[in-house]
């Protein structure tokens, strides 16, 4: 057990830091906040992000764990941790590649043919092409395998019809990963097939959704007779669910990783400055205990993430453990944000930055976090995953097992 860098890791860290120092500016207190969760980024920001990604790719610092043939450097999980730690100290553009790098890439690496991998991965890595995910539907969220978008074989192509929802950044994406039903007569999970779709294909219509925080980062995506070449199928026909699981496992890790802990430093800072009736907030016994609870829980999440990394570097596969990080981490951030607002007293209800320092940030997060608790698996789905996959507890009794998908009930019986 050693929480410090090994000599090799220390050398690597120096190398990473030197490159970042030469190519980016260090973060300073008072820097403008990064973009809001679920906010649609504008064209200029997208270009800036692409340039930064290309710069990293040219120097060999993009997706460093990916194999060299796709532009990575075959780095170890620990090296990736070091890269992420160091990069987080620098001012970098917002990251529209999270879904592509975090979910689509690993899925293509696991299930794509060598030709498909060569076609998509290098441009995904370099930021030249941006990717999105087309999984959820209005009638299929937690019960994703209940999706109804159809894919019908037509010669060497598939014709897709239906509706997807919660697609981040669909407007500016070049490619999407799609799961669709090719066989409604098969039982639910067996009738699914996985595709890569060109987002500029005729028949795709994108409509933004307005979220509770006013942002429009997510979209509805409609498919009207969209043709997808069979060469863009990922995995076998009927193997879609297995392929999707790879994506979902990686998604939980990505969403969990959004939580960085800067919120806690801000909360400590606020408590140290804020005057309450009896003195500074940080001297109030109730406030102190609450802060301690948050710190202990946060440390627990952070250290568990590191322990998971150790397991990875010892050759163990990433598993359902990432569910813990998302389940606990995101819920915790929601609590911290809510507490930040309450700590400000009545003033916590105003969003005026001039009047109440930090206030707007707590409010903003408090409005963003309910979305994160749902994205990539709701708290309830994550608990099921932990219970069934890690703790090996029996699955919930189900009424859709062994039934042809078309016969599964979708609403109350008609009277």
């Amino acid at each position: 057990m050693d929480f410090n860098d090994t000599p090799e890791e220390a050398t690597f860290r120096v190398e990473v830091r030197a490159w970042l120092e030469a190519n980016a500016a260090r973060k300073r207190p008072g820097d403008p906040q990064p973009d809001r969760v679920g906010e649609l980024i504008d064209e200029a920001t997208l270009q800036e992000a692409k340039e930064w990604q290309t710069k990293k790719a040219d120097a060999g610092w993009a997706c460093i764990r990916w194999p060299p043939q796709y532009g990575g450097r075959g780095a170890t999980p620990m090296q990736e941790v070091i890269w992420n730690q160091e990069e987080s100290n620098f001012r970098t553009p917002s990251n529209p590649f999270m879904i592509g790098h975090g979910m689509c890439g690993p899925t293509i690496m696991a299930h794509g043919t060598p030709e498909q991998q060569q076609q998509w991965l290098p441009k995904l890595l370099s930021g030249e092409e941006v990717w999105c995910q087309l999984f959820s539907e209005p009638g299929a969220g937690s019960d994703l395998a209940g999706l109804r978008t159809t894919a019908v074989r037509d010669g060497d192509a598939w014709v897709v019809n239906g509706q997807k929802i919660w697609t981040t950044g669909a407007q500016f994406c070049d490619w999407g990963i799609l799961i669709a039903r090719h066989d409604p007569d098969a039982v639910k999970h067996a009738g699914l097939t996985f595709f890569v779709v060109d987002m500029r294909s005729p028949g795709i219509e994108i409509r933004p959704i307005t979220q509770i925080n006013g942002g429009q980062g997510f979209n509805e995506v409609f498919f009207n007779d969209v043709r997808i070449p069979d060469a863009f199928r990922l995995g076998e026909v009927g193997d879609g669910w297995r392929v999707a699981i790879t994506t979902l496992m990686n998604e939980r890790a990505s969403v969990g990783a959004l939580a960085r802990g800067a919120e806690l430093d801000e909360l400590m800072d606020l408590a140290a400055k804020l005057e309450l009736a009896g003195g500074r907030a940080i001297d109030d016994r109730a406030v102190r205990e609450k802060l301690a609870d948050f710190i202990v829980a946060w440390k627990g999440v952070e250290l568990t993430a590191q322990r998971t990394m150790s397991a990875l570097s010892q050759g163990k596969m990433p598993g359902p453990e990432a569910s813990l990080l998302k389940l606990v981490g995101v819920r915790l951030l929601q609590e911290i944000s809510g507490f930040g607002m309450e700590l400000l007293g009545t003033a916590g209800i105003t969003s005026d930055e001039q009047l109440v320092p930090q206030s707007a940030r707590w409010q903003e997060r408090y409005l963003a976090l309910p979305g994160l608790r749902i994205a990539g698996g709701t708290d309830e789905v994550l608990r099921n995953i932990i219970a069934e996959r890690i703790l090996q507890l029996p699955a919930e009794a189900r009424v859709d097992k062994g039934v042809a998908f078309k016969d599964v009930p979708t609403g109350p019986p008609s009277k």
Binding site: M1, D2, F3, N4, D5, T6, E9, M78, V81, M268, A272, I282, R285, R288, E289, L291, A292, D293, I295, V296, A297, K299, G300, V301, L303, T304, Q306, R307, M309, S310, A311, S313, Q314, E321, L324, L327, V328, E380, L382, R383, N384, I386, A387, E388, I390, L391, L393, P394, A395, E396, A397
Partner: protein
């Protein structure tokens, strides 16, 4: 960076678990609890033979010369087994006090016999309900003599000597006293968890000597408590994991409404939450063990984090253990109450979670 125990340490852990399983430690715990013995002599001599009692005592004093990571691994197993032995008193508290501040002569006098399990030591820091250990200590030490009383003292009736805090001319000091000398009286207290007995120690003009310098007692005590906090957190972690495993097995075997209760989301989700809590406590304990063995500058914060996380994980697991077992969980016959008692005992021994939370904030403010 490597956030895991080594293969050798894991091997040590397996051996320890096998030994404690062979001894049927839960039945032994129940036996001690029901018969009001002071501790299990069989387990204690086994632990001595295996070198556990001198785990971190240097070999010049007859110890095994392991490190704190090895001791942490053993603590987890002792906790997992709910072993009814004075391990924490003798090893985490008394031995640590001597290693930290004992004179060469004191080390020579106590450590070899501690390592061999021939004598048992303990520490006594508290005197009154509600007060923190350093608050208004009324026990006095002057001219080599001790007057006052300490309670509750873990294993106070089984111990041969005690390390305690006492007020002296130069402030709070750490003092050591043999318990078989004139003027010392040890009496048993009624206890919430009789498998880990507590005592009242009274000193009337009893012979004692300083450990470390006079007036240094507060600092030394804090240091001893930080170390003990990490090791106790491992005991809590081990016990929480065992309670969790037993509860999981029960929920799989118990049927209701024609299916295992472990198939209901109400139970699955509760178990999932407990698992998360225990896993996070485990991570924090590892951090604490590492700080204890390699980086004293981080121990202050790491000890608080490990201690709080493990206290809360074990407390909630032991509470849910009874709840998930249902009616039988509330019977004397089932083992749930052994865990329930031990959880509360361990979470208030060495200072309750609330006091560690305040220390955590103090220490973070000092760093900032």
């Amino acid at each position: 960076m490597n956030f895991d125990f080594s293969d050798d340490q894991k091997h040590l852990q397996r051996t320890a678990r096998e030994f404690l399983d062979d001894q049927k430690s839960l039945s032994v715990c129940r036996e001690v609890l029901e018969s009001k013995q002071l501790y299990s002599r069989e387990l204690w001599s086994g632990a001595a033979e295996l070198g556990w009692l001198g785990a971190v005592i240097p070999d010049q004093y007859g110890g095994a010369g392991f490190g704190y990571l090895e001791l942490a691994v053993l603590a987890e197993e002792v906790g997992r087994a709910l072993a009814p032995i004075p391990f924490s008193s003798s090893v985490y508290l008394a031995t640590e006090a001597l290693l930290l501040a004992g004179s060469p002569e004191q080390k020579e006098r106590y450590l070899p016999r501690l390592a061999a399990g021939e004598i048992i030591g303990t520490a006594a820091f508290t005197e009154q309900p509600g007060r923190s250990p350093s608050d208004r200590v009324e026990t006095r030490f002057a001219d080599g003599r001790l007057n006052g009383a300490k309670l509750p003292v873990p294993d106070g009736t089984a111990a041969d000597f005690v390390v305690l805090t006492a007020a002296s001319a130069q402030g709070l000091s750490l003092v050591i006293a043999d318990l078989d000398t004139a003027g010392v009286e040890a009496s048993s207290l009624l206890c919430f968890d009789e498998s880990r007995p507590q005592a009242r120690l009274r000193f009337e003009h009893a012979e004692a000597e300083l450990v470390g310098s006079e007036g240094e007692g507060g600092t030394l005590m804090e240091c001893i408590l930080d170390r003990a906090a990490v090791l106790t957190a491992f005991e809590q972690l081990g016990a929480a994991s065992r309670a969790f495993d037993l509860t999981r097995e029960f929920a799989l075997e118990r049927y209701a409404f024609g299916r295992p209760v472990a198939s209901f989301q109400a139970i699955k989700h509760r178990l999932a939450d407990l698992w998360c809590q225990i896993e996070m406590a485990r991570s924090s304990c590892y951090y604490g063990a590492w700080a204890l063995s390699s980086d004293p500058s981080q121990l202050g914060v790491a000890a608080c984090v490990a201690r709080i996380a493990a206290s809360e994980a074990f407390t909630s697991t032991s509470e849910e253990m009874i709840q998930i077992h249902g009616g039988v969980g509330y019977t004397w016959e089932y083992d749930c109450h052994l865990f329930y008692r031990r959880a509360k005992l361990l979470s208030v021994a060495l200072g309750n979670p609330s006091s560690w939370k305040h220390q955590l904030i103090d220490r973070l403010q000092a760093v900032a």
